[in-house]
């Protein structure tokens, strides 16, 4: 009888194991890390530690140079979704470290990644500029025109509400305008890679390549 439903039993058992793994991941996000059962050799990966140390030193140097960054916390990226053009990150700092929802998140090179959408005790979810729910008030550096960077497109995000007679061109830098409640003014996001005129619209179709959102994100700065 049971043998007849072996596939269904395996399916349900498999689902149980996966949900267990997801929950365990969430427990880890909450900060209850369990590292028993590993030998010292497995715990210490020296090459990773050296690379991490180097990245953290770079961040500390940058923080020392810029006063406004002193309020920012350095966090480690726990997970990325999806692997290419990430729309969502989970970082290992949360309420306990002073992070709040809607705080800005920057890469170690000080490009905007996105903002915190949810905080837990010791972890937070970050919505990146690639996320379909992301909207950022920006300014084009050369023309000083204000637009809205709308997420959802990959590999480029679109810059809306730039007038059709604008002098915006390929290579122009795009920065946060400072008019939104979420992002400080002047944070670099990326550069204009495509400008198209739409005869049926009063605005240009502008594509922007964000610099901060790529798979090599290991540490980020979060704050306001």
């Amino acid at each position: 009888m049971l043998w007849r439903f072996r596939r269904e039993i395996l399916f349900v058992f498999g689902l149980y194991l996966c949900f267990l793994a997801i929950n365990r991941g969430r427990v880890r996000e909450r900060g209850f890390r369990q590292d028993e059962g590993y030998s010292e050799e497995q715990k210490i990966n020296y090459e990773d530690l050296i690379a991490e140390n180097k990245r953290l030193r770079e961040i500390l140097d940058i923080k020392a140079d810029r006063n406004y960054l002193k309020r920012f916390a350095v966090a480690e990226v726990i997970s990325i979704k999806p692997f290419v053009f990430p729309a969502e990150l989970i970082i290992d700092k949360g309420d306990r470290d002073g992070l709040k929802e809607n705080m800005a998140v920057l890469s170690k090179d000080l490009f905007l990644i996105g903002r915190i959408s949810l905080t837990r005790e010791t972890s937070s979810t970050v919505v990146t500029v690639f996320n379909s729910k992301s909207r950022v008030s920006v300014v084009v550096e050369n023309t000083r025109e204000i637009g809205v960077l709308v997420g959802g497109g990959v590999p480029y995000v679109s810059l809306k509400y730039i007038p059709a007679d604008s002098a915006v061109q390929k290579g122009d830098k795009v920065l946060t305008s400072g008019y939104s409640d979420f992002y400080p003014r002047g944070i670099e996001i990326g550069e204009v890679v495509k400008v198209e005129k739409d005869p049926d619209s009063l605005f240009l179709n502008v594509a922007v390549k964000p610099y901060g959102c790529f798979t090599g994100i290991y540490e980020v700065l979060a704050g306001e």
Partner: protein, 160 residues
């Protein structure tokens, strides 16, 4: 039994190597899922129970190497393998179409968040899900053709 286990381990290692390689060194906008293709082939070759078990194992492993939340890919792999058990096809076009459809489902399910909807906008989602499904279908086609050629050679040799 032991021989089968060794063969499966070999296949797992090859697929892991290929998956790690494409995730880290292939700079395309989407990368194919060798694990998904392998699981589908295992199912259609009659190893359904083994494929269900491996769906969980490879899903967990895939989440670790792609820096995702562990378990998410496992759930989707498991659903795909379970659904593919009901698709009984031996023809190459049937399997390629099946791989295309299941890959499309995998991509869309992976990009969906319960409270927030799809993580990318509709045009990007449409374009890249089709691209992902196409890559997987092509990989499955190549493996199927290779497998059938090998089987044909083996049969011919035995008949002599």
């Amino acid at each position: 039994m032991n021989r089968k286990l060794i063969r499966l381990s070999e296949q797992f290692l090859i697929m892991s190597g290929l998956q790690v390689f494409v995730l880290n060194y292939v700079k395309t906008s989407v990368v194919p899922s060798f694990f998904l293709v392998w699981l589908l082939i295992l199912t259609w070759e009659g190893n359904r129970e083994i494929a269900l078990v491996l769906a969980v194992v490879t899903g967990l492993f895939y989440d670790v190497i792609s820096r995702g939340v562990p378990g998410v890919s496992g759930v989707i792999f498991l659903v795909v393998v379970y659904a593919s058990c009901f698709l009984k096809t031996n023809s190459i076009p049937g399997r390629v179409a099946g791989a295309f459809g299941f890959s499309l489902f995998y991509f869309l399910a992976f990009m969906f968040e319960r409270d927030r909807g799809f993580l990318w906008g509709t045009p990007a989602l449409f374009k890249y899900s089709l691209l992902f499904a196409l890559y997987n279908a092509l990989i499955l086609l190549a493996i199927e053709l290779g497998m059938r050629k090998l089987r044909w050679k083996k049969k011919e040799y035995l008949s002599i």
